[in-house]
Amino acid sequence: MSNTAVMENQKPVRRASGRVPWLDWMVMPTLAVLALVVGYPVVYTLMLSVQDYNLLDIVPGGYVGAGNYSSLFSDPVFWTALYNTAVYTFGSVFVSALLGLIFALLLDNLAGPQFRAVRALLLVPWAVPFVVVAFLFRYMYMQNGGIVNEMLLWSGLIDHPVPWLNNAALAMPAVMVANIWAMAPFFFLLLSAALSGIPNEVIESARVDRARTWSMIWHIKLPFLRNPLIVSSLLMIIANFNDFAKIWAMTQGGPGFSTTTLVVYVYRLAFENFEFGYASATGVIWLLLLLVFAVAYVRALRMN
């Protein structure tokens, strides 16, 4: 029997009869819910983004076409926010992934209760709610009485307390440290699981070939970790792009605009100035940028 004949024989009977399978109809409620929960806000945001719509105005906003977008592109705060978003997102994800990888490799193959305890301890920051992380670090960074300054003063590394969150140059790195502290355990967890999934035969044959530790990491383990690392990084890039709680609780986007990211800027525009039209235009740009990473994420998943 030829291949074509086999395929023809395998065609579903229902489809051949021209009717839509009942299982296909089962997805309709899900699609309807998605259209309502995701589709409607997106479409409404697109519509608002071409209007001069302020929630405080008694008269409803009018159509301004691309007016909000052209204002946005000449808005220096928007560009600052975009730059800060990139620094915060990629910086945090890169360092967290690196730390997670280092800890995962260091603790790989180490058995015993003491190492189990270390693993558990390393995962604790991931369990702390983001807002708690933000307030924890905010108080640790305080100029007067913050533990970070107290320890640095005590050790003689600094003469005067450092205004970690109140210095335009230091605020972003300080917020990122808090973010990295909270996020690195995620990478550690994921990469540890991926390491334990490397087939024993591969490790054994490398040992038989007398591969050294570094060679084993570089040629055996890292290639196995490549895909989990890409997928988890993309996931975290998307999550950090949307990270509002930590930044707002720690600095509210300041001092000046030094930690204002896109999500903080959208919040200020929409819920402090009530400029829903302009905020929606910013939101659309933000959505488009997120879509790029979302598509990359889906592709990475398919590749896997």
């Binding site: 405080l56 007067n144 205004p163 300041g254 001092p255 402090e272 009530f274």
Partner: protein
């Protein structure tokens, strides 16, 4: 047997009728009972919750046909939530508001003008003029809470300063702060809110005005005026000399003030209540320890202050306006509410031209007298309105840049102005 049965039947009939009558009466009473929704942050804050709950309970006892449904919303969230509720057609009947938030809500056109209601009052109110928009009264003053320069007499004495002679000019203030910094390095010389929010702009507005600066509003001279640059430079000096602790909200200085960690503090009249509830000081101890004065004068030679008091607004969509007004009137003007909440829990001044005799003793304190006589006359109106929040973001971002960065003041002023121009 028959007579026993018929007797039981009659009794049952009576009992049923009585129950039915009771049900009808209850239903009628329930129908007559008016439920008012009251959005406020007084019941969201632990310090004021018992006070407002007592006042509401007293009002309900005196007005059995009115029930108050208190909706606790935090101070920082209330404007956002109310604007969204107004737009979705679901506002409360009455709300507590303050500062620019009152004017934000008024901009929606959904606040009931109160001129006719106030005209019916048999007491004279203060502070009405600052609550007018397009000549309509948009809110009822609930209390007055202007800001003054609080000074810690113990810290001043330890710094070799005269505790009964607080600084009267900016230069004297700088000298006093230098003395404090030198003698007590752990003490924050000046508690000043430099966060980026509309309240912070309100709080800093009098300092800008004392330098003659007016970045926005009617008669504005912009952010690049020499006066505004002088103010920004002064703020930078304060930070560089370690006289202020940037980034703290006003409320975060209050516990420190209660622990003698703040020498001078720019705060509202309610600070007394917060300090006493934190450290348990008696009134006498407090007056020995703390004093309050008008803002030191700057190059313009004038003191300024801001009104941080709370207002009550009625929403135009309310279907129970008479009951709502009765409740608002009770909160703002009744001696019981003033004694049990305004003065005791909120440590603020009532909005009455003449205080009720029953309260004259409670209101005759060194702090209240200083506010009434020397500080309230310096309260300057602010450019409140729909654009104030956006202007605040731009101006306070500039203040933060001046305080925390090294960028030239000219560049910061130009950046603030360019943002103001975009609005």
């Amino acid at each position: 047997m028959t007579s026993i049965h018929s007797c039981r039947r009659v009794s049952a009939l009576f009992a049923t009728s009585a129950l039915a009558m009771a049900a009808v009466v209850t239903a009628a009473t329930a129908q007559e009972k008016i439920t008012l929704t009251f959005a406020n942050w007084a019941s969201a804050e632990a310090a004021t919750r018992p006070g407002i709950e007592k006042v509401i309970a007293d009002f309900e006892a005196a007005n059995p046909n009115i029930e108050i449904e208190s909706e606790a919303i935090s101070f920082s969230e209330i404007a956002r939530q109310l604007v969204l509720r107004v737009r979705s057609g679901n506002p409360p009947d009455v709300s507590q508001l303050a500062g620019n938030d009152t004017f934000l809500l008024a901009a929606t056109g959904k606040l009931e003008p109160l001129d006719e209601y106030v005209a019916r009052l048999d007491v004279e109110l203060t502070g009405l003029e600052d609550l007018r928009l397009d000549s309509k009264l948009i809110a009822l003053p609930w209390n007055h809470a202007p800001a003054g320069l609080w000074y810690n007499k113990a810290i001043m004495e330890e710094a070799g300063l005269d505790p009964e002679n607080p600084p009267k000019t900016i230069d004297e203030l700088m000298e006093a702060m230098a003395a404090v910094k030198e003698s007590q390095p752990d003490v924050i010389p000046l508690g000043l809110d430099t966060t980026n929010r509309a309240f912070s702009m309100s709080s800093n507005w009098p300092w800008m005005r004392t330098f003659g600066a007016q970045p926005v509003g009617e008669g504005a001279t912009g952010a690049e005026s020499p006066e505004m640059k002088a103010y920004l430079q002064w703020m930078r000096d304060l930070a560089q000399k370690g006289y202020i602790d940037p980034g703290r909200k006003i409320g975060e200085f209050r516990p420190l003030a209660a622990q003698d960690k703040v020498a001078f503090h720019w705060d509202q009249v309610l600070l007394q209540g917060v300090i006493q509830s934190t450290n348990g000081m008696s009134d006498e101890e407090f007056y020995e320890h703390w004093g309050v004065a008008a803002m030191p004068t700057g190059p313009g030679g004038e003191s300024h202050s801001f009104e941080g008091g709370h207002q009550l607004v009625m929403f135009a969509d309310s279907e129970k306006k008479e009951a709502a007004w009765k409740f608002m009137q009770y909160l703002a003007t009744s001696p019981d509410a003033i004694a049990n909440y305004t003065v005791s829990y909120n440590s603020s001044l009532p909005p009455l031209q003449e205080a009720p005799e029953a309260l004259s003793e409670e209101l005759d304190t060194p702090i209240f007298n200083a506010f009434r006589e020397r500080i309230i006359p310096t309260v300057a109106p602010q450019p409140y309105g729909p654009d104030f929040a956006a202007a605040s973001t731009a101006v306070m971002a500039g203040v933060q840049q001046a305080v925390t960065g090294t960028e030239p003041i000219d560049d910061i002023a130009a950046s603030v102005q360019s943002q103001l121009d975009r609005q």
